[in-house]
Symmetry: D2
Subunit: 406 residues, 4 copies
Amino acid sequence: MHDKAYALFEQQQQDRGIDLEQVKQKLKALKIETPSWGYGDSGTRFKVFQQVGVPRNPFEKIDDAAQVHRLTGLCPAVAIHIPWDKVDDYEKLKAHAQAQGLSIGAVNPNLFQDDDYMFGSVTNSIPQIRQKAINHLLECVEIAKVVGSNTISLWFADGSNYPGQVNIRTRKRWILEALAELYQALTPDMRMLIEYKFFEPAFYHTDLADWGMAYDMALKLGEKAQVLVDTGHHAPGTNVEHIVAYLLDEKKLGGFHFNSRKYADDDLIVGTINPYELFLIFYQILDAGQDADPAVRKTAENIAYMIDQSHNIEPKIPAMIRSVLNVQTQYAKALLINFDEVRQAQERQDVLAAEHAVRQAFEQDVTPLLAAVREEMGVPVDPMQAYLDSGYAEKIASRGKGGASW
Amino acid sequence: MHDKAYALFEQQQQDRGIDLEQVKQKLKALKIETPSWGYGDSGTRFKVFQQVGVPRNPFEKIDDAAQVHRLTGLCPAVAIHIPWDKVDDYEKLKAHAQAQGLSIGAVNPNLFQDDDYMFGSVTNSIPQIRQKAINHLLECVEIAKVVGSNTISLWFADGSNYPGQVNIRTRKRWILEALAELYQALTPDMRMLIEYKFFEPAFYHTDLADWGMAYDMALKLGEKAQVLVDTGHHAPGTNVEHIVAYLLDEKKLGGFHFNSRKYADDDLIVGTINPYELFLIFYQILDAGQDADPAVRKTAENIAYMIDQSHNIEPKIPAMIRSVLNVQTQYAKALLINFDEVRQAQERQDVLAAEHAVRQAFEQDVTPLLAAVREEMGVPVDPMQAYLDSGYAEKIASRGKGGASW
Amino acid sequence: MHDKAYALFEQQQQDRGIDLEQVKQKLKALKIETPSWGYGDSGTRFKVFQQVGVPRNPFEKIDDAAQVHRLTGLCPAVAIHIPWDKVDDYEKLKAHAQAQGLSIGAVNPNLFQDDDYMFGSVTNSIPQIRQKAINHLLECVEIAKVVGSNTISLWFADGSNYPGQVNIRTRKRWILEALAELYQALTPDMRMLIEYKFFEPAFYHTDLADWGMAYDMALKLGEKAQVLVDTGHHAPGTNVEHIVAYLLDEKKLGGFHFNSRKYADDDLIVGTINPYELFLIFYQILDAGQDADPAVRKTAENIAYMIDQSHNIEPKIPAMIRSVLNVQTQYAKALLINFDEVRQAQERQDVLAAEHAVRQAFEQDVTPLLAAVREEMGVPVDPMQAYLDSGYAEKIASRGKGGASW
Amino acid sequence: MHDKAYALFEQQQQDRGIDLEQVKQKLKALKIETPSWGYGDSGTRFKVFQQVGVPRNPFEKIDDAAQVHRLTGLCPAVAIHIPWDKVDDYEKLKAHAQAQGLSIGAVNPNLFQDDDYMFGSVTNSIPQIRQKAINHLLECVEIAKVVGSNTISLWFADGSNYPGQVNIRTRKRWILEALAELYQALTPDMRMLIEYKFFEPAFYHTDLADWGMAYDMALKLGEKAQVLVDTGHHAPGTNVEHIVAYLLDEKKLGGFHFNSRKYADDDLIVGTINPYELFLIFYQILDAGQDADPAVRKTAENIAYMIDQSHNIEPKIPAMIRSVLNVQTQYAKALLINFDEVRQAQERQDVLAAEHAVRQAFEQDVTPLLAAVREEMGVPVDPMQAYLDSGYAEKIASRGKGGASW
């Protein structure tokens, strides 16, 4: 059945003018980092429901991440969050990951849970607190060196809840000062990714509230600083793929935090609320990957794809598997766009044909393609079913309730 | 100075055709319920910052509420939340309140923090959990009888996070079933207020998502069921005062949860983000208070005004004082609308004059009026300063950190 | 190739437990009304770009609509707008439609373009204008009788631009009065559909602003009054399919105006911005079509599907063809949901499985299915290509520029 | 009465630590440009209601603008729009303005109403159309030279309605090319203001969609290029004053288009929907006016304040008077902020005191202050009443209906 389906699919794509071998190569090269904290308990301000089997420490989080990679072949790296993943011996953590075929991905400083940060971390009006925050940033660079990570991923919860509460311009200067200190500490092969967020936990103003602010910081810092787009951090209606295209053109798109939103920063499983948006983001990335400017192409190829979600009511590992499969699915569909057809329709200003050329790729069923790719990669054709059959959930049940949470 | 200011104010309002004695009477009659949980620690999903002096039990919460009432004269009742305010002896709680000049206001069931409610309470697909939730509702009626409250205030966090997760229509029927059981249990003098919410903690669908759903439930139940409007529970751009006017006209507006929002359900101090909106809500209420239909007038007079906020970074008692003063201020301004002038401009379709007649009242400085009213009520002219001078904050500091939170 | 693809598709759906014969029957029964005004020039407040070949009168609009039906088999009825489609002899218009295999669908009164309606039509504070508006409503019923339509479709642009401009409650009563007069005039086989709109052209308050208000009106009027959902008339983030489910359960969903939106009431081609949302709407409709309550099932079966879009930059007829094909596509996908699988996953509270069971249907490529259905219906397998090849566009070019517009 | 009120006001502000003389000086220096098109008919896509007395040509528009300036003392310049204000002899237009005490303000190219611009102007994929658009930009510089204007104000309606319709990155490069050509043509004393817009008339992507894109363009061009903030051009919830503060700090805020919005780009009278937001914008500007960096201070002082509204249902001249008075009122209130008090509260992280220090200024009634300032400026104390009494409306009625519109 799979074979028959793939044969037909191959024929169809050939007829559509798609080079399937190239598509498969790109699919095999896709890497999506999963976050250590995505394996722990999370929730809303109203309640964190604790689940059975949640990892109790960073090592167990890596075990779970390894399981996801084993079944999908997509997730060779795990992002860590300090101090959530603080350990005595980071060499040991690295080795633990390596032993399971993983590496440590982005290192994420935590600047929002210390009591000192109630009114800001790097933008706190108290100099000692700003220094403490900067020290933590520098500490994360040191940890990155040890664990072999080349990415510092920065999200600042800093902001204010009321008009007048803070001086916005002063804080803007402070955040640049902190970022500049961090930038200086980066090794030549490292980069820093600057995330922005529309709101929450600050409800009046957030120091880095949109892509423009993050971009401006990255511009001031230099080429090792780039912007990280979290798909849930925008105002209602925002055209996220436009921002993606803009940043790519400026060589300033560094990475993604994938998740879905319907209302605010809902942190739902990526691809479940508006899968077409995810596809359109990949369309922009693939289009930039064919740019005449090699620097734009290189930017498109070096994007760090990461999951950042809160699985409040879902079992953690299956939720992560579903997430990365959803990304893979939309990426596969975007690879089926006939870019020549799109370009030609655009050139003759044929709105309907251009729109259709893009959306037609989205309408393809990529199940046979993904099955073929997975077989070639040596992973299960149905990773979710494979997980359910694996006995892993039963095994980790012995961890009980009350594991790590954020 | 106050006298001079008030004399001028009196003259100005007389010139504007305002009956100041009536205004003062209405101001003295204003009552705003404060929530017991507003005195405890609260926060975001990212962090709850614990504060010094937070009450450690329901009795201390009532002490703090009494302090707010003592200084403002506005808050003779305290809403309670079960089980957050569960005590062995509710008679004792009632007596503790009465001893300080307070009564117990709305009783709020909690249907979102028990582990059983992960997939819903009254709309859970497991019948036993639905029954448990209904039992809790009935328990709250019993508590209300004991503490002398005539209001059950209902917020359901129930909903789903993903398309397909639940059957929306089935859950709609279950929620009506639960409400009907509760309705039967109400004593003749009781009413139930049905709150709705756009989203959170459910991120795909919320069983009672908007005023239309809450209103329809109230319609099906009978006249003891009314809608509660939480000012933070709407989609961006929603005209809240329109909803208020509509519900008033249908005799179905029962109460408010006041707070401010800029983005989502931010739960900021009421009147700090868009004070004009609060004023416009009171404009609709006062207009309905002059309706030809006595039932509409009565509805407008029987609205339960309540505060429902999260003071994440503010000291709790001053934040509550500021909140009720903000409500009082906007209410005072709305009382200064010359309704005849508005009506006449409306009748001659003079857009600019009608708009101006309303907004002019908002532009008035009501400081002298409020000073006069407070003097006549025997409370401090500047309640906030009086609090800061009272030594109460220092006294409760002995409670230390780690008080009640939700 | 088509045969091979369909054979495989058939096998796949059989394996998924889908009854393809029933699916095909339902697809053949799908009817989508196109609007006469959708064939004319339209635009934004900034500019209406006139196109060549736009129909110059109601008869030519019907010719174009007939062309769409001929190629798709989906659109046997055309909605008309009075006075845009005012003719001396409505019998002749009806005959003109019938001669081409069409009937006249919903009759839409226009209450927003007469100079008298600057401050409202049925809610104008001037009684003579209200009466004029009511007379127009009654006129439309008379026209409906002549053209053989059983649907009056009502959209009121009435509202206000500024706080204080109008008395909201009074206008609410006036709109009900007007609707009640119209209701009385309906013949037993007619129904009236009440549309609501979040905003525009009124920018402060719209008299019927949301589904709750339209629903309440329909409730007060009786069973011949139902709500019409225009997919573009909601606040950002609104869960439209939830509203659909709610109205179905109350037997009050009467029809749809289909279009797409990203920001406001953008009136883009349906299915181009968030196709998944359209699929989810059909999921709710099909689910209600299996309800235990026959009245709910009947409501689901009697929904009037209509297109209501502004094709500002697209050629009109192809844009209409694309629109109805997009609706057909998402409807086809929704028909492939295995409802038993969904129900079972819901019952065991398996969030991931339930979500997946729904979304999996969306991931199907329905091209072979639609090709088969079209062949059986005797329409072109690729209606868009057939149109481009038909020579019709060239033929109507003789109409020149400057045709009908709204 | 005025005297008594002012005496009390003076005392109150002195007690609050406000230097009233400085406040009055700044109020007298406030200039708000009115737009020539604001005096013509405008409307929504549904209907333009024509009004009696609307100017029939650019000269009459200037007459009306002069009337507004005469009565308010606030509006010595008029912005023009080409080709709406195209005349044979621009010297004559300039002289006509000067004769009435006015100058010509910003020159606004129109790049959205020519049929050629259906798919874009400076970003059209057809090189000839791009060149035509650039030529129009250069033409506007020539006109600016003749009329004595030093500001080119740029709004591009360019964008797309559907995913895939255009290549976003290519268009980004084209827009920069056009802007660079314009930049080269500016004389040393000129500046260009780059406006951005969230959406409309493009409904999928707008080439300059947010402040970040406009800012980036300005950054690439040089110091004569700055950003123009239209208060209605943002996503729901956007903190506009934050953007203002950010741009001020970067010396890139060049001007404002003032208006109010509740939903989309509603273009209502500024200060009618959320007056506090307007006040908070001025708070940021005044705060920047005290910056340690003289370049930031200078930027704050050189902001071009302009009205840009659509008066769909209001009489044009009174609507303009109300608009500039509303701006003056909120500016006056912001001048009453005690900035030392704010700073001190911020420094001790006293959230409630800082918020209150800002909002307290907003609560002041500035009527006595504005009366005094107007008397000193020699304009009527109540400009609106003076207009109604002036007989001007009766005089221009002879123009009849059917004047200029856009």
